[in-house]
Structure formats: structure tokens, C-alpha cells
């Protein structure tokens, strides 16, 4: 069954409409005012965000309606959204549901950004960058993007976010929004990579996905743990006590990600594969709408 079928495209269109009409394009709460544009052609109004240049505020509207609206010019719309999609083997765990959700989510967010006249790029990484979809613009580019995403497969060895981000930031490209879609199961940790994005003035937004069986493993007794990323194995005896400890460590990891994002003001979305991509996107919109 194809990952992106006609039903999926209809859902994409729906999400795009919702994003524009309801949340006024502020899905990812990006600080667009950081992009200083020199265009003269008036494009549209957008709501004022803290930090925006007050020179572009339309005082007439404020005087008449009391609303703070910012004038946008043509160059200012061109936001760059980079999707760093984790393609390590851990994403292919449990039948690949995590990887499918990640790809669907990436496609949905990318479509919303394209519909919003932003430029998007998708960078697939594992232990390093394995493939990328070049920066592009326009809704018509959604189909090639879907093809690209559908042809991706989990590969590589241990997830190395820092290495992959390091390659990413060395590219000659404009800064923008960096949406990291991953399970963040990196042996060397996820913080170095995200810190690197922050230091290089990208706006990281983490979308962490996990499978319910990763949060609640159900095996007991004498087993051989097999790591799907690095093909290593270890013979252990799993007891009830061990399971309780695992669940605690997993929850702590989840809380750690959330706390890290909160500490640095980063966007964070955590979900399991039990939720469909559409519900996840809508949830993200609600959260974004509540914050702005």
C-alpha cells in the first residue's frame, strides 16, 4: 500500500486550509520578523509579533481598529524551512510505523509551508546525511517531494545527530526553521546536534516520535537484546524490576527532551505512533495557536 495515496493528498489540502484560515500561518511559531526584507511591493498584512520592526506597523489600521498588523513585502514571505528527517534503522523499528509517520508528518508540514509560499528542503540523515531534497518552493513541488520521501529507507548505523547537523550547517544556505523529525535515540545524545543548530541561528523545532512498544516493552526472562541500528546483541535476564526501571528511564528521557526544549524556547512535539499524522498536525496547530 503506497504511503502517500490520494486520500493522503486530500488530507494535506485540508490541513493546509486549516493552517491558513484558522491559525494564520503560524503553525510553527516561527519568528518571521527576523528576516529583514527589502522589498517594496506590498504583499499582505500579518499579525504583529514581539520583536518585529515597528517601522512596518500599519498605524492607520491600529488607529481605526486597534489591531497591530505588520505590512509584509514580497521578500519577507520567503521563509526557509528545513526538515531534518531521521532515517536511521531505529526509525524502522516495529514494522516501520515510526518511519511512516515521520515521513507523513514531514510531507504534511512541508506542504503547509509550500502552500504558505515558503521554501522547504528535506535532509535525510542517520549516522550522517544520506540524502536530501533541495530547497524548493511552490505547491506543485509536493509530488516530487512525496516521491523522494517514499523512496527513503531506514539505513546506516547508530544515529549521530551531531555529525548530521554538522554537515547540514556547513552548507551554504540561508538560516531558517529546522524541523528535526526523529526518535532522538542517539547514543551520543541529541543535545549537541540541536545546540549546533541553535548556535548557527537556525530555529530548531523537535518532533520526537516513538512506538508504544518502545515505551512499554513486554518481554521477560532470558532473552537476547538485538539492537537494530548497530546489529549488536546482549544476553540478559529481564525481570519485572528491570522493566519498571526501563519505563522510568524512558519517561525520564522524554521529560528530558521536553525540558531541554522548554529551557531554550524550542518548539517541541512528542507523540507515539498511536496517533495518526493528521491528528498530530492538528494538535501542533492547536498548540501553536494557543501560544501565539
Amino acid at each position: 500500500m503506497p504511503l502517500f495515496d490520494s486520500n493522503f493528498l486530500k488530507q494535506l489540502e485540508y490541513l493546509s486550509l486549516v493552517s491558513r484560515r484558522v491559525f494564520r500561518g503560524s503553525l510553527l511559531a516561527q519568528r518571521r520578523t527576523m528576516q529583514f526584507g527589502s522589498g517594496i511591493e506590498f504583499a499582505e498584512y500579518r499579525e504583529y509579533s514581539a520583536g518585529d520592526d515597528l517601522r512596518y506597523l500599519d498605524w492607520n489600521i491600529y488607529a481605526r481598529h486597534g489591531e497591530l498588523l505588520l505590512k509584509r513585502f514580497q521578500e519577507e514571505e520567503d521563509l526557509h524551512v528545513y526538515f531534518l528527517l531521521d532515517c536511521s534503522r531505529s526509525m524502522g523499528f516495529a514494522g516501520g510505523k515510526k518511519f511512516d509517520l515521520a515521513r507523513q508528518l514531514t510531507a504534511a508540514l512541508a506542504y503547509i509551508a509550500l502552500a504558505d509560499l515558503d521554501r522547504i528542503s528535506v535532509i535525510a540523515f542517520g549516522d550522517r546525511i544520506v540524502d536530501s531534497f533541495p530547497l524548493t518552493r511552490g505547491k506543485a513541488r509536493i509530488l516530487p517531494l512525496l516521491d523522494f520521501l517514499e523512496n527513503l529507507e531506514p539505513q546506516g548505523s547508530d544515529t549521530d545527530l551531531a555529525q548530521s547537523v554538522g554537515e547540514f550547517v556547513r552548507r551554504k544556505q540561508r538560516m531558517g526553521l529546522a524541523v528535526v523529525v526523529s526518535d532522538l535515540f542517539a547514543p551520543r545524545g541529541y543535545q549537541p546536534g540541536i545546540d549546533l543548530l541553535r548556535h548557527r541561528r537556525y530555529e530548531p523545532h523537535l518532533i520526537q516520535l516513538h512506538d508504544p512498544s518502545e515505551a512499554e516493552p513486554d518481554f521477560l526472562g532470558d532473552i537476547e537484546l538485538y539492537d537494530v541500528e548497530n546489529n549488536s546483541s546482549r544476553k540478559v535476564t529481564v525481570t519485572e524490576n528491570n522493566l519498571r526501571m526501563y519505563r522510568r528511564l524512558f519517561a525520564e528521557h522524554q521529560h528530558g527532551v521536553s525540558r531541554y526544549c522548554r529551557d531554550y524556547g524550542l518548539g517541541c512535539t512528542q507523540a507515539s505512533t498511536k496517533i495518526g499524522f493528521e491528528d498530530l498536525v492538528l494538535r501542533m496547530m492547536r498548540v501553536a495557536g494557543a501560544l501565539t
Binding site: 534503522r89 523499528f93 526518535d183 518502545e214 537484546l225 539492537d227 546482549r234 529481564v238 528511564l249
Partner: protein, 622 residues
């Protein structure tokens, strides 16, 4: 400790594969995980191979080895020598006499005794042995020494009630012989103590008493006999004795029936311990079952009824051929059962089915059937007549013969008695000084002949009561009646019964109880010993049916015997006081080790297996 089956220890070899499988690496189930970063924290946090880590697998191995060793030891059936040395031998004596059928203890005393015996059997230790003996009617070993519980329980359940007397002392003697020289032997008696010497039994250290029953009031028939009158051919006399074995005055009623027809009724009010005895005279041509019945019913029903057999009287046709003797004729006519026809001359043909009485003249050949000859003057085929006896004094007589019952002719002179020489096969009933027969008999199949060589017109025999009694006895003998008394037997007694003569080709006989049980009798035509009878009521002796078809057509019994309890000791239901104070039978189960050691080993192995399973489920051991 020793082992009953030491070769079972070879099963200990199973410990080798247990160790082998423990050492061998078992292929573990593979569990793929997306990352081991959490598992590494879990398993790397613990110090490598703590003492518990190192031991817990060994613990599992030891537990399994222990389980295997426990089972192997159980298979080897270990035992201690003291188990054999201290094994007990118990002989259970269960009194199933008549008094144990009393219902003062529900349902009966015997059931209570069997219940107590079963309770003791179920609490035995391993290697104890028990035997079961019954003590009613006749001591009998129901089950020999064994330790098999089910066999003993079945034997106890098979003990049936009887109406016989208590023979506990005999049973105890039998029990002691069974015990032999056993060190830890004991005789346990379950009885109500209704026998002589029961008081002394409490002092016997080898015997433990279990008193069954309470002090129950009882009124019972202790004697019931009937006999035909000596003088009145249709008369009979009843002897009945009733005892009130109670501590209170007891009203009751005695009903006497003959073949179900009321004969007499006596309302009684007996004082405590009173013995009421009565002799009654009644008349009846009919014979049959005379029964005595006490009402109301009390704790013991067996002594509320008694039976006796009243011999039936049948009319006898007698033909008298006599020149004329009034005494003889009257002696015959006096019997109301006799149809007498007198004639002076001998006929040419004799009537079959009649008793022929010849006075003086006899035919050369005696007719078939029953013949009474008095004072023959001619010889015939059975004797030769000679001259008169020189000393016709009666010196010897067969007092055991039914023909001589209640007749004493000692030193009586029979003047002008002729000397007769009987043919071979005669039986002398009365003889003279030199042994000359004065009164003799012949008995052959289908024929009976009596000869009395006495001149009725001389002497004083006809004036004595002996003469009509002799005539009556002769008529009774001709009618094959064993006498006017058919004695009622006492339950538990052994009696010698005279059987009527039968052909040698006749089918065998069997003794049938009131309850329908049959016992074959030996092929002896004259007398047979019956008993001990263990059931009150009417016993019958009849031909044993040859096949099943014959069983459906029961024949008339040849002989009937009445059996009654008639024992004062059995009617007295009071338990002796010495029994009530000492009758405490300690519980047989003396310790924890009621079961064999292998049972406990197997139980421990089972518990170890449960523990191993629990620890494995909880992942405390691998």
C-alpha cells in the same frame, strides 16, 4: 535408615542431565529493540556479578538437584528400623451379637461399633497391622492382619448382625492367638458387655474396651417352648418366660398366635427385674407355627418375638383285629385322632393306608404299612413263636426310643408272655431277664412293625398308665412324629436333629434360614448337626433344588426348626459400669509419621517444585 527398594536410587542418575542442561547454553529468544541506550543503563548500572548475581543461578541448580534427590529417595522407600520394631498389631473384636442390634444408639449399637472401628483404622500409622474378629454367635476372623486400610474398612463394613449370643471371651482368646508374641499388640473390643465375665475384662491390660450403648430398658422373651400333651392327643402345653431387664416397671402385652390365629393375650405390668413365667394348656388338632409377640417394641426387637413348632396331629385309621379286649380297644378309642374299626376275624385282604392292630391272631404274612401286634400266638414272616417265657420280668428297656417315652416298665411282670424270636433287623425295646425281647420293632422303608408279647388279660399292664402311653407312642411312631416336643432352639446353639428316613436316591437336603440363606447339609439320613443358628425365626430343612427351575417350585419342607433369642444376658442391654468408667480407647495415631516416609519426601519435592516455579515466575532465579 534403610531402604525398601534400594535399586530405585539408580534414578539419581537423572541429576546428570539436569546439570548438563544447566551448563549448556540454551538458545535464547531474540528480542529486537530500537535502541539499547536504556537497557545499557539498566544492566550496566549494577555492579558486575554481585554475590546474588553469581549465586542465583546456582540456587536454581541446587533447587532442581534437591527436587530430583527428594524424588529418588521417595522411590527408594526409606524407613527407620524403629518403625518396624515399634509397629503395632491391633486386633479389633467387634461384638455382633443380638444385643448389639439394640437401637438405643442410632441406628444400632453394631453400626456404632463399626463406625468406631473405622475411625481407628483410618488413624493408623504406617506399618501398623490390624485384624478384625467378630464375637457374635461364633468367633470368626473377618480379616487377617494387614495394614491395607481399604481392605480393613471393607472387612468392617462386611460385618453383619446376628441374633446369636455374645462370645467375646472366646473371641479375645482367638485374638490373643493371632497376636502371638508381638511386642506391641493390643486387643480392642467393641461391645456392650452383655456376657458373663465382662467385669473382669476391664482388668486385662492387653485388652482395651470400647463400650457401645447406653443403659437401655428392655423386656424380652427368654424362653418359649411348646409340646404335645402326654395324655390328650390334641392338647399341647406352652411354656413362656418374660424378663423385664429395666430399672422401671414396664407395662406390655403378650400375644400368642397359632398360624396367625390368636390363641391367647396377656396384658402384663412387670416390675423392674421381674421374671414372668407361665405354663398354658391349649388344644388344637392343627400343628404349625406358634408365635409369641411382645408389644410395644423396645430397643431390642429380636427378643420381642419367639416361635415354636407345634407338631400337627393327623387322623389315623386303625383296624383292630382282636377276639375282644376292652382295654386295647379303649386305649385305641381314647385317642381322638384315631378312626377305629374293629373286627374279630382276619380279612382276606387288608386295607392299605391303615394301621393294622393284631391281637393274638396274625396272618402268615403281615400286611404292608404300619402293624401293631399284641400277644401273637402264631409265627409269621417276622418272628417265630415259642412257648411262654420263664421269667417275663422287664429288666431292660430302651429309654431313648420315642416308643418308650414317658414309659417305665421296670420290674413289671408280664405273665404268660410268649417267647418270640424276631427275625434279623429287629430292635428290642423291652427285654426280659435273659434278654428275651418282650417289645420290639421292625422298621423298613414303607413298613413299621411293633410287637408286644404280653397277655393283656393277665397281669396289670393294662391298668397302668404306661399302656395307653405305649399305645399313643406307637401311634405317634407310626405317624413318623419325633415326639410331642419339637424343641425350640436357642440362637447360637448347635443341635443334633433327627431327620425322617428317606431313600438313598433322594436329593440332598439344605438348611434354609429365615432370611433365605441356604446351607447344604451332609448326606446322612439319620441325624445331622445344625448350628450355630445366627438368626431368630423359623429355619427349614428341605430338599436342595437341583436346578434353577426347581428353585422356582419350592417344595414342602421336610422339617421346621424354631430358633429364638431366649438368652437373659442378651436381653439385658445395660452396659457394665466398669466398662463405662474405663472405656477410653486412645487415638491410634500417635505422631506425625502416620504415613510412610516416601510420602513426606514426595510432598517436600512437590513444595520444592512450587518454590522453584514461583521463583522462576518472579524472575528471582533463571
Amino acid at each position: 535408615m534403610s531402604f525398601a527398594t534400594p535399586f530405585a536410587l539408580a534414578w539419581a542418575a537423572l541429576t546428570v542431565p539436569i546439570v548438563v542442561f544447566y551448563i549448556l547454553k540454551i538458545r535464547l529468544r531474540q528480542a529486537p529493540v530500537s535502541t539499547t541506550i536504556f537497557w545499557q543503563q539498566i544492566f550496566d548500572e549494577k555492579p558486575p556479578r554481585s554475590l546474588w548475581q553469581q549465586l542465583r543461578h546456582w540456587l536454581s541448580l541446587l533447587v532442581q538437584l534437591l527436587w530430583c534427590i527428594l524424588l529418588v529417595l521417595a522411590l527408594a522407600e526409606p524407613y527407620f528400623n524403629w518403625e518396624i520394631l515399634q509397629a503395632r498389631r491391633l486386633i479389633l473384636v467387634i461384638d455382633n451379637s443380638a444385643s448389639m442390634n439394640a437401637t438405643d444408639v442410632s441406628p444400632t449399637r453394631l453400626d456404632a461399633a463399626k463406625k468406631a472401628a473405622r475411625r481407628l483404622v483410618t488413624s493408623l500409622r504406617f506399618r501398623d497391622e490390624v485384624a478384625v474378629i467378630t464375637a457374635g454367635t461364633q468367633p470368626q476372623v473377618v480379616c487377617g492382619l494387614t495394614g491395607h486400610e481399604r481392605t480393613l474398612l471393607t472387612a468392617i463394613s462386611s460385618v453383619t448382625k446376628s441374633d446369636g449370643p455374645t462370645l467375646v471371651p472366646d473371641a479375645i482368646e482367638l485374638a490373643k492367638r493371632l497376636l502371638g508374641e508381638a511386642k506391641h499388640g493390643q486387643v480392642v473390643v467393641y461391645s456392650d458387655g452383655g456376657f458373663a465375665g465382662s467385669e473382669r475384662l476391664a482388668e486385662d491390660k492387653l485388652v482395651q474396651l470400647e463400650a457401645i450403648g447406653t443403659t437401655a430398658p428392655n423386656v424380652g422373651i427368654t424362653n418359649f417352648q411348646v409340646r404335645r400333651s402326654l395324655l390328650d392327643p390334641v392338647g399341647y402345653e406352652i411354656l413362656v418366660e418374660i424378663v423385664n431387664a429395666s430399672a422401671e416397671a414396664t407395662p406390655c402385652r403378650l400375644d400368642l398366635d397359632l398360624n396367625g390365629n390368636p390363641v391367647d393375650v396377656f396384658p402384663l405390668n412387670l416390675k423392674p427385674g421381674e421374671v414372668w413365667s407361665q405354663t398354658l394348656e391349649k388344644t388344637s388338632v392343627e400343628g404349625g407355627h406358634l408365635t409369641a409377640h411382645l408389644t410395644p417394641d423396645d430397643a431390642l426387637a429380636a427378643d420381642n418375638k419367639a416361635a415354636a413348632i407345634l407338631p400337627k396331629r393327623t387322623t389315623q385309621k386303625v383296624q383292630l383285629f382282636s377276639p375282644g379286649n376292652l382295654f386295647l380297644q379303649k386305649a385305641l378309642e381314647a385317642n381322638s385322632l384315631v378312626e377305629l374299626k374293629a373286627a374279630k376275624e382276619l380279612p382276606k385282604q387288608f386295607t392299605a393306608g391303615s394301621i393294622h392292630v393284631f391281637h393274638r391272631h396274625v396272618p402268615k404274612q403281615l400286611p404292608a404299612g404300619q402293624v401293631l401286634v399284641i400277644d401273637p400266638i402264631e409265627s409269621c414272616d417276622y418272628w417265630q413263636v415259642a412257648g411262654p417265657l420263664e421269667n417275663p420280668i422287664v429288666t431292660k428297656q430302651d429309654i431313648d426310643s420315642p416308643l418308650m417315652r414317658h414309659v417305665r416298665l421296670d420290674n413289671i411282670i408280664l405273665p404268660q408272655a410268649r417267647k418270640l424270636t424276631p427275625q434279623a433287623g429287629s430292635h428290642t425295646l423291652v427285654s426280659a431277664v435273659e434278654g428275651e425281647p418282650l417289645y420290639f420293632s421292625f422298621e423298613e422303608p414303607g413298613r413299621k412293625v411293633l410287637v408286644l408279647t404280653v397277655n393283656l388279660d393277665e397281669g396289670d399292664l393294662t391298668f397302668r398308665t404306661a399302656f395307653p402311653i405305649m399305645v399313643t407312642n406307637a401311634l405317634g411312631w407310626f405317624a413318623s412324629q419325633s415326639g410331642e416336643l419339637r424343641e425350640s432352639l436357642v440362637a447360637g446353639a448347635i443341635s443334633e436333629i433327627e431327620l425322617p428316613s428317606r431313600e438313598k436316591s433322594a436329593p440332598p437336603l439344605s438348611l434354609r434360614s429365615p432370611g433365605g440363606k441356604e446351607r447344604p447339609l451332609p448326606r446322612i439320613n439319620s441325624k445331622v448337626s445344625v448350628g450355630p443358628l445366627d438368626e431368630v425365626g423359623i429355619w427349614t430343612i428341605a430338599e436342595h433344588p437341583r436346578d434353577a427351575a426347581a428353585k422356582d417350585q419350592p417344595k414342602e419342607p421336610i422339617l421346621e426348626l424354631a430358633c429364638n433369642l431366649a438368652t437373659k444376658a442378651e436381653s439385658n442391654l445395660n452396659v457394665p459400669e466398669s466398662w463405662q468408667t474405663t472405656s477410653v480407647v486412645p487415638v491410634a495415631a500417635a505422631s506425625w509419621f502416620v504415613r510412610p516416609i516416601w510420602f513426606y519426601l514426595a510432598a517436600c519435592a512437590w513444595l520444592v517444585a512450587i518454590g522453584e516455579w514461583f521463583l522462576y515466575q518472579r524472575r528471582w532465579i533463571s
